[in-house]
Structure formats: C-alpha cells, structure tokens
Symmetry: D2
Subunit: 344 residues, 4 copies
C-alpha cells in the first residue's frame, strides 16, 4: 500500500498519515519526491483497505502496489533517485564513472592509479581491500591496510571511495574508510548483511548476483530500503549462462527494464560482465546508450602483474580512450561527463 | 591450414597451390581479400605440414588455424565481409536496417507497412511467410501467398526481401521470392538445411539458436562457407537463461566478440532479444554502439491485432522515433543511415 | 476440447461425434483407451462450447483441456501408451534398453556389437548412420551403407533398429531400414521434419532439445500426434546449464513430471546426459527408479578408437555390469528385464 | 602438495614432516585415514619441490595435487568420510534421513512432527528457525524461540538437530541448540561465514548454491577444511536453469561425480530440488541409487497451512510411504535404513 499525498499537503498532514499507519501496527516509509510526498506502508500481510487513508486531509490517493517490491519501485516514486556524494552524484545528469583496480595491492599502486584516474575526470575510486575469493588459498586483499591506502589515494585526488563490504565484522572499518559501500555479487543474497546496511545511512552499491532474477535483485534492494536506507545504487555485472567464451553474460536488457520498474540509479560493470578487457569499451558504450547512469570499470597500471582479475582490467591508455569515446557519446543520452573537482 | 599468398602472387601461383591441395585429396577454398588472396584447406583430419606449401612460388606463409571454424574466421580473412544486395549492403558503412512484421498477414498489411518503412529509408523488408511455431495449432503463415505479397510490397518500394526458409521443401519458392534467406533460431542446428543453403549463391541471414554457444554458431556458418556460400550474415537474437522477465537475454557481448573472431557482418534483433517493444529502442541503440552492422526490427501497424509476436513489435510512430535516434547515433560509430533508393 | 465417450458407447456413437466435429470445420482425433474412447478436437482457435457434444448419445463429458498440448496429455488419455515393436515393447512392464555405438563405423563393428548386446537380452540396437555434427569437417556417418550394416546386424540377432533421421531427404532410406525413427536433440524444433514424421505410421523416438522446456518438448510430440502418429517415445538426454564438469545436466525431474503430464513412454539417455562413461551406471539406475520406461545407452567395443563420442561410451564388460545391476533393480519398480527373442 | 606417510610411519615421523612444513612458512593439515596418514600442505602459491619431503623417514611419497581443492579431494583421502553424530552417522552404511518442516512454526507443530518422524526411524530433525527469505516482508522464522522448540522436540525423541545458520551474529545460539549446522544455498558463497564455521568443531551441512559449479562448491567446502573443520556434508538441492516447470533442476549427475572427486558424504534434497511434493518420492529414490549417502526431506503435518514452502512438503502419510519404499531400495546400494535409538 502506498499513500500518495497532494502536492500542497502540509507536513502535519503527512505526520497524521504516518501516525495512523503506526497505530495499525505497521511501518510508514516517507518517500520525498520532487513534486509530492508518498508514504509506503510495510508490515501488512494481507490486503489493507485504501479507505483507511483516502478520506484523510492532504491525501491524493491510497493505492495497492502490485509488485513484491514496494519502496524501490517506480510506482511508489515516479522520479529518478539521485545519490549525492559531496559534489559528485550518481543518477543525475553527470555520467558516474567508478574506476580502479580489482584489488588494492600497494600504497604506491593505488595512489598512482588514483592520480591517473583523477586526471581523466573520474570522481569515484574503486579498489578491493576485503576480497571474497572462490579459493581459500587465493589472495584475500590487504584488508585494513588496503582501506587506509585507498582512503589516502582518494583524499589526495578529491575522489570518493567505493569498496566492498564483505561481512558485518569488517563493516565498521569499511564504513569509516569509504563513501559508498559495495555489496558484491556473492553477497546479494546475504540478507543479514543487507539488513545491517539498511540500518546505516551511507550509500550502498548493490551488485546483481550472477544467478539473481531482476525481481530478486530488487527484493534485495527492498531489504535495504525497508530498514530506511534509500541510498541504493544497482549495478549489473553479468549473469551465469551456458556461454563459455565470456566470463559472464552481461544482461543489458536489465538496464532499461530496471529504469521502468524502479527509481534507483543503475550502473553497469562491463569488466566483470565480459571478463575480457578487449570487450570493455564496446560494452561500456552500449551500457550508456541503453540508459545506464554510469559505469564501473577495472583499471590496472600493469594488468599482467595484477593479483586478481588482470585479464579484464584496462591499461591506463585504454581507459583514456574509453573516456574520450564516452565524452563523444554522452550528449546523445543528454548526460555530461564528470569533471574532477577543482583543486582535487 | 590456410595458405596466404603474397600480394603480388599471380593467378597461376594461386592455381598451382589449389591443384596441390586437390592432389592431397583435400578441398581448397579461395578467399579473395582486399590486398591478397588466401586459400583455406578443408578435409584434413590430422595436422598438415606447412612445408608442403611454404616453398611454392607466390606463397607468403602457410599457417595452422587454431579455431574449429576456419573459413568464417578473422584469421583467415582479416578484412570485413560486406554483403551486397543491389545498391543496399550489410557490413559496410551504411547501417543495415531490416524491418517489418513478424508474419505477413495480408496484402494490404504488408504493402502499407513497406510504404511506411521505405519512407524512413529502410532498405530491407522482413516478413514471415513460412512460420515455425511451437504449437502445431498456431498460425503457420500465409506460405506461398505470403511470399507473393512480400515480393510485391518490396518491389513497389524498392526494398529487398528477407524471409525465413523453414525447410528444404519450401526452399525453391523462398529462393524465388527473396533476396536474403533467413535461417531461424530453431533451425541453426539443422545441418541438412545449412548444407543445402551452402550450395546456393544467395545471402543467408543466420540467426543464433537460443541455446548455441558462439563457437557453435560460427560452426553453423562454417557449414555454409564450406560448401562455397560465403554470403553470410550473423544475427544475435537473445539466448535462453534463468531470467523470466524478458523473453530472452540479448547477448550483446557476442557482438564485439564476433567482430574479433570472424569477418562476417553481425546484426542484432532486439525485438526477439527482449520480447518487449518497450525495450527495443534502448537495446537497438546499445547494439549499434557495441559494433553491430545493423538491426532487425519487428514493426506492426497495429500490434494488438498481430497474429504473432505483437507484444514485441513497434508501432510506426515508435519505429520512426527509433530511426531518428539512430540517425543521431550512427556518426559516433562512423556509419551512416540508409537512404531509400531514388524512385523507390 | 476433449469428448470423453461412455464405456458402453457404440462405434456409431463415436462416428456421430466425429462427424459433428468435421461439420464444424475441425479435426477429430480418436484416442482409444483401455476402458473408453476419447475424441480430441484440434483446429479451434477460440473456445468451443461443451454443450455442442454433451447432449449427444454415448458422450460422458466434453471437457476443455487446459494445457497447450492436448493429444499427448494424460488428461486426454489417462492410461499409459505402450509402443509395440514386434514382440518387444516400450512403455510396458519390460524395461526397454536401446544400446549400441554412437556411429556405425563398419560392418564388423556393428555385427559384433549386436551379438554382444543380444546376449545380454537387449532388444533394440542403436547406431548412427546419418550423423548431425557441429563441425562440417567431422565424420558424418556411413549413411546408406551404415543403415545396411545396421539392418543386417539387427536381423542376425533378432533386434529392432533405432536410428536417427536427420532430414526429410534421407527419410525414405531410414524408414526402410529402421523400426524406430529417432529425432535427435538438434532437430526437436525442426517442425517440418516433425510434420513429415507425423504422417508416417512408424514409432518416433523424440529426444529433448538441450534447450527445450518440458512444455515445448510435449508440443513437439503434439506435432507428431496432430498428424495422426501417436507412436511417440520421449527421451531425456540432458539440458544445457552453466555446469561445465558434465557435458549436459541430466534432468531426471522431467521423468516423473512427464509421467504426470503425458501418457507417452519416457526413456533416459545417461550417455549424452552426463557425457562421461563413468557416470552412466549410477545415472541409469537413477533414471529407472525415477520412473523411466527404459534407457538408451552408448556402447562401443573399443571406446578409445570410436569415431564419435568415445568418452561417453561403455565398454562391453561395463555394459554387462549395468545390465546385471538393472536386473536386481527392476523388481523394485515392478518391471522385468528384456529377454532376447528365442532364436535371436 | 600432499605428503603420504607409509603405513608403518610413527607419530614422530608425522610430527617431523609437519614441523618442516611450518618451517617453510606453510600450514600442515593432518588427514587420518583407515590405513595411513596423509598431510596436506596449504599456503604455498607456486610449486613446492616434492624432494623436500620424499627423503624423510616414514614418507611414502609427496605428490602434487592437480585440483584447486585439496583437503576435500578424494586424491588426498581415498576412503569415504563418515560424520558421526552420537549413534547416528552420515556417510556410513546407514542411509541418513534428515526430515522436518521448512520452518519451525510452533512448539506443538515441531514436537508432533518429531514424534511422527521418530516413529519411522528418522534420526535427524530439520526445521528453520532463522530463515533467509527473498522478501524482507516474509516470515523470517521464530528465531531463538524456534531453536528452543526444535531442541526440545529432538531431545524428547532422541533425534539430532539440523538447522540453518544464517549469519555469524546468530551463530552462538545456533551452535548451542544444534548438532549439525546447515549453510543454506544463498550462503554458500558467504566466505566469511564459512571461515567462521571452519573454526568450529561441529559438522556443517553445506548446501550447493543454485548457481554454483561443482568445483566452486568443493572450494566452499575447502574453506571449512582449510580452517580445520573436516566434518563436512554436501547437499545437492537443485540448480537454476531455463526450465520453468520445476522450481529448480535437481542435478543428480553431481552425486556420482562428487563421490569420485571428494571423500565427503553427499546428501540430496529433492524437496527444494523439485519444488513439488509430488516429485519427491521418485527423485528421492533416484538420489539413493545414484549413490547419495542420504536425503533431506521437507515434511509438514498440514502443508496447506505452512508458513513457507508448503507446496514442496510431504504429508506424514506420504513420508511414511517414502520410508517404506526406501526400505525396499537400500539393500540394492548395500545400505540399511536408520532405526530410531532405543528409548528415543
């Protein structure tokens, strides 16, 4: 159930609706929009009678929501959500570009990478410090040390930090060092972690599990929203299919479909979505004109020596080519390229 | 094995190489290129010794080909193949757009559709006359009558006909009425049909089976080429995955990958690839910037009344919007839009 | 629509119902059962009014059929279909075992194999003469010569021949030489071939496409039945999934599900379903207790030298072990093992 | 690397090998076997020289292990692992049957269920207390209260408790109340949870993720073993495929394949693997003859009123039918049925 308020409803009107919802033993979720406020209701098992709200002052209408996801649905909030990170943003007119190495490998590596990226205008620095790896014997990341290097590199270059939070144990450190918390594909179904992140008030970049349907993915986002964290960014990174020649099958159908179903921003990660650096540029371009709000790209100064995912990482010169290509492409989708903050 | 001739090799040199191949009980395939001729060799089970050819006059080198597909591989022919159809072409600088209804339903329908499409510059008219349908009780197409209407509509508007050839029985009629023979996804593994089409000298548009790996698809193309028909156009139309919200998962990764592996032109069909008309425009755009040589689009004057696939067909006004969008997009990929032939 | 006749309905009653169906421009399909006759109706697009038949003499009831498949459905014919082949049968109390090499490779090979198999009681000899192969350069079978050897081997040992019909061109020869026509996985969606086989009156073994849903598979069977050929045997042989360690994923869920949905006999091919000879025995056992009516097993006298599919073929001694295991297992499912015909 | 000791090696010999491994900065894993001890070595990135150990007293041989998983591989430990739980066991001659409701719903429900199950001889009681659910609005389990009821029900009937551990937060309570810790399919890639459970000395039942390859699944088991917890039980529960008519595709190929690759016991859950109660009996039977060491079955006193997964739960009478069927089947695989402990 969703209670849509009139454009001229007062904050008192909104409060009274929320109060009534609580009286019914349910949970109100105020969803501010550009034109009007809506209030999502969760906690109800069966149907709720729209008449309970329809006659209240300031209420435009009370509507049943037909999808299993509510708070993240476009039905509930028709205008796009924009996630603000200082002067940078995701979901607005600026194309969001998150770039960096798969793993933070050394202080020097991440600082040099950040400087190179900042010069091209990139505003979000990625790098794994706590790495979930298929093998217990594989490199698991530099952990706290990696976070520290990442933060330093971002601060020196005026960038924002995006890094994966692998578990609730390391959450406090990741929270302290990062600007956006990434939930990796293997954790999309980790509902306990999602609940914990739903209690934070920091943006979450939620990658699609390689085996999740779009509906399950939106339900994972709903876990976050239902606890009050609406700062959610979706990131498509390829699904698992029978095709062996690419690491994953990048599902770009998901991009325009999500833009219809949900108000959340949608990014695309062509590095994981293809698993091959030589497919990254065309698929990044494709993602942008399919409607993506931005990209997540793996870049490594020397891919051959990378401790993880080297084969899918772009070299600096190839990344600069990509940025130049995107520069020419974004006017087509009425977006603009990011420009590094002054003095960054 | 591939014998690459020097740029200045004479036709006598080429003949002598072909003769030697035949003497070994194998089959030579002359592959003309912009700069030089190459000769593919098929029929050999085990390894063939490059020395057999390397010392012959006019031979640059004899190389083993590492992929199971040979004649369709980029290794064998480095420059792009362009399929010429009168003044129209597929694989060249002009973006190829094939459009029309899923099925030819009546004379009036296909003529009106063709006129509308020709006005937008479309040069290839599609329409199913012999329809493979999952149910024996579903509409199977107007058959010969449908072909006749299709030919008439194309001729009135100066367009070329692309239509599916469902089996060898109906091949003579389809051959007579069409300019490009389409092999549907369900027939990609129908090797007997492929062999038969390999003996023709008419272009074949080979759709990817929804369960074919990219390698299997190229092997199907190799069936055509190995019989001497090199006029092959590949068309990605979505693969079968666990995702239920789209009819298929359009695998755009395939586009840049195919452009690396093969010299054949690659089209994308976002109508089948998504199964939803409202995803067609963004995915068509994505296909173009991913490197596709063209698009195959279902268009219906009145989708709600279509006898098949109405939900994925564009209305005329939406199709015109798509063409206008593409017009703005093609300079980015150094292509130009098609323009209807004068007097068409 | 299905018209179910009373147990004591006369043949005149049945004729009158069929006549009325024809008068309505539709096609009646008489489906004899152990207790009563039913008449399927095909050709109707929209709903048909049950009242049209309900008041006719001898009619028990006229029911709408909810599935897209009709004639092959259990709703239409509640008792199991048994396909009779001389004294051998598929779908009855005797477990059907079809065995033999992937390809007929020589006269001696197939005769020796047949003799070995006949000694173990096997009644159906398989062997490919016309082979659909992914590569145009791979061994395509001995063709007519292979059929001849196969027929001779079967006749000498009193066995029945099961062999693949690859296309309509080779159908006359395959029809002449075989007792059961196999439609391979790659041809399950070849509707023209299915229609042609639907006009024959010889049993068809219909393998599941590795990308077909169970419903699509039953629709392919419906193609056969709708033309009057009810002698259909389904054969599960594995579907294509993301799992790389087996060639296919054998879908045994399909076995009990098909037995609920359809009256047709169901076989399982664990050789293709696993792609590994060392998994064949356990999966063959599993298929039998899941309810399969029989098995299709690849056996080769010398797998290492096989021209195709050697890795998934059982050696004679392993096949004998399998038969001994099945001998102990079949009482559990109230079946008996096949015994070679006297004098075979 | 694996160091295999001679059958007559002394414990001093074993100690010296372990000491040398530690001196090299690596971790030794002593793996006791029926005949001899082996010592797995982990922590080495590159190759290790077998000569380092081959000349030591008591060493039979030092062998490189070719699979990415080591400690759970059959290469490292040729004889089957048996997990002992009081007098009950998993992996030995007794077929292990774990049964119970999807969720613990009330004290009365679980006690009545346990009593019914104990009467049939079942020795392991399952029931979800902490439930991972796709929707944040769905029933999430009775949590601590549920664990308490489950423990009481098991203790009254002499059964062992198997219940899911959803996260590290609830681990202490789940540890206290259960005998076997279940890792659900959605947590198989939750490496932090696996590491935590690897530090416990309680058996872990590790379900396969619906998107995990068999190798990834064994790597998840390796996470547990690499921390010293070798008490691991694998449980196949179906993978995600394109087939919509069953909730999952039960991959029984995995059973014999795992028995080749690994020494760990393998269970099968046909309730989740099919998602339909009416397919559970045939698929349970199939699992047993494919070589499974046991079954995990959902049973509900009144499926229609279940708070979760009712459609796939067996009623008591159907479950008793299953147990009677298994009773007749187990001699075929040289196993015996479980018998409830005396006085239970």
């Amino acid at each position: 159930m969703l209670v849509v308020m009139k454009a001229d409803a007062t904050s008192g009107d909104v409060d009274r609706v929320q109060e009534k919802i609580r009286l019914l033993g349910l949970v109100p979720h105020k969803i501010p929009g550009a034109e009007r406020v809506a209030i999502g209701i969760t906690g109800n098992r069966g149907g709720l009678d729209p008449d309970l709200f329809q006659s209240m002052t300031g209420v435009l209408e009370a509507v049943r929501v037909s999808k299993p996801f509510k708070l993240v649905s476009r039905e509930v909030k028709p205008d796009d959500s924009v996630i603000q990170c200082g002067t940078a943003s995701i979901g607005g007119p600026e194309l969001a570009v998150i770039a960096g190495p798969c793993s933070v490998e050394s202080r020097q590596q991440i600082i040099e990478t950040a400087e190179m990226l900042a010069e091209t205008g990139v505003r979000f620095l990625r790098g794994g410090a706590f790495k979930p790896r298929t093998s217990p014997y594989a490199f698991q990341g530099l952990k706290e040390q990696g976070l520290e290097y990442l933060r330093e590199a971002a601060d020196r270059t005026g960038m924002k930090v995006v890094t994966e939070v692998k578990d609730t144990e390391s959450l406090p450190e990741v929270l302290a060092a990062s600007d956006i918390l990434q939930v990796g594909a293997r954790n999309m179904f980790n509902f306990s972690l999602l609940e914990r992140l739903g209690d934070e008030r920091k943006p979450v970049l939620l990658k699609r599990s390689f085996a999740a349907t779009i509906e399950e993915w939106l339900m994972a986002a709903e876990y976050l929203a239902s606890r009050g964290n609406y700062e959610i960014i979706l990131c498509e990174r390829g699904i698992r299919t029978f095709e062996p020649s690419t690491r994953n099958t990048l599902d770009l159908n998901a991009v325009p479909l999500l833009k219809k179903l949900s108000h959340l921003p949608v990014l695309v990660d062509p590095s994981h979505g293809t698993g091959r650096w030589d497919l990254v540029i065309p698929m990044a371009q494709a993602a942008v004109v399919a409607g993506a709000d931005g990209l997540m790209i793996e870049v490594h100064l020397d891919p051959a020596s990378a401790l993880s995912d080297g084969y899918q990482s772009l070299r600096p010169e190839t990344f600069r080519t990509l940025m130049a290509r995107l520069h020419d492409l974004v006017p087509f989708v009425k977006r603009r390229m990011p420009v590094a903050a002054v003095g960054a």
